[in-house]
Symmetry: C2
Subunit: 214 residues, 2 copies
Amino acid sequence: MSGVRKAEVGDKMVRRFPLYLRVLREMSARGLSHASGAVVARALALDPIVVRKDLARTGVRGRPRVGFPTGEVIAAIEGFLGWNACSEAVLAGVGRLGSALLGYPGFSQQGFKIVAAFDVNPKRCGKVAGVPVYPVAQLAETARRLRVALGILTVPEEQAQAVADAMVAGGVRGIWNFTPVQLAVPPEVRVKREDLAAGLAVLSRRLRDGGAAS
Amino acid sequence: MSGVRKAEVGDKMVRRFPLYLRVLREMSARGLSHASGAVVARALALDPIVVRKDLARTGVRGRPRVGFPTGEVIAAIEGFLGWNACSEAVLAGVGRLGSALLGYPGFSQQGFKIVAAFDVNPKRCGKVAGVPVYPVAQLAETARRLRVALGILTVPEEQAQAVADAMVAGGVRGIWNFTPVQLAVPPEVRVKREDLAAGLAVLSRRLRDGGAAS
DNA sequence: TAGATTGTTAATCGATTAACAATC
DNA sequence: TAGATTGTTAATCGATTAACAATC
C-alpha cells in the first residue's frame, strides 16, 4: 500500500505496470497471495531482474522465498496510476476506431469510464455500445458539465486540432490522441499520442533484417 | 539512397522514422526538395538535435544552410523499413478493432496490403472495407497460398494463441499482436505487441502528478 | 562575408544487466 | 539447514544532450 515514489519512475517502467497488473490480478483471482518476480517474468517473457526491480520500486516489500504480496502490489500500482478511482472520459470521432474503443470493456479496469461520445455526423448520434453520442458542437459544454478528465481523440486528422481545442475548452486535463497530428494545447494539458505506425515500423524492420523477437 | 546501417539503429529511432516519413512526404508534396533538421523538429515537437542525428543516421548527406534532400531521405527510410515494396498481410478477428484496421487506408503507405481477413463467426464472412472475410479455419491454407508475410491479430484473447498457431502454420513471418496475450511462437517468427494499456498508463500517471507533456 | 546548418566528438543521463550479501 | 528469492550496490550499455569545428 506504501505507494510508488514518483520522480524515480521512468516511462519505460510505467508502461510495464499494466502488464504486472494483469498478471497479478489473474494470480490473485486464482487465490495466490504472493508472486515472485521470477514467476511474473516468465508469464510476460521479461527479464526476471527487471520485474523484481519494478515490483520493488512499487514500495511494497517482498519476502525471500515467498515473493511479493499480490494484493498490495496491485493496490500500489493502481494508486500510482490513479486506476483505483474511476474518472470520466469523453471520446470524439465515432468512426471505426472510435467505435472499437467505445466497445472496449477494459477501460473500467483502467480507471476510466467513457460517459459521452461525439461526432460531426448527426447520423452517428444516438447510442454506440451503450454510450450516448452527441453532435460534436456540444463537446465543450458537456465535458465541462460532466467534469471530464480525459478526452479520447479518434477523429479524422483534418478535424483533430479543432476538436482538441473543444476538449481543452471543456476542461479536459489530458488527451489520448489517436491521430497523427501534432496538437497545439496549453502546457497544463497532457497529450499522449498513440502511434500505431511506430509499432508497425519496429515490426517491419525486424521482418526485414532479423533480430530479437518480442 | 545510401541506406541505413543496421546494427546501429535502436528501436527508439525506428519508432521515429514514420514521423519523419510523414513530414517529409508532406514537404515533398509541397515541392520542397530539402528539409533542415530544425524544420522537421518543429513540425513534430522533437529536439532538433535528435532529428538531425536521426536523419544523418539514414546515410543521406545533408548540406549546411540547406538541409537534407527530402526525396533521398524518404527513399532511405522506406528502404530500411521495407516500406518501398508492398507485402501481403492477413487479419484475424473482424470485431470492432479488426474492422477499424481493415478500413484504415494508411497501410498502403506503410508497405502492407491486407489481402484477406478471417473470423470464427460465419455471419461476419463476406467483405469488410473491400477485403474478403473467410472462416478462420481457412487461415493457414490461405495465408500459405497467398505467401503472406504478416499476420494482424485482433481476436478475443481466448482465441489468440490458437489463431497465432494458424498464422505460423500459414508461414507468416511476423505477427502484429493487438491482444494482451503473451504468444508462444517459434523463434524465427517476430511478434510485436501493440499495447494500448501501456500508453494509457503513461497518460494516467501524467494526469495524476504532472510532469512534461508529450 | 556572415550566419545557419551539418557532422562529429565528448559528456551526461537513465535504464538495463550483473553480482552478491541478506533473509526467510 | 539449504536453497530460493529479495534488496542493494556496482558495471555496462545505449540514448540523449551538449559543444564546436567544418561547410555551404
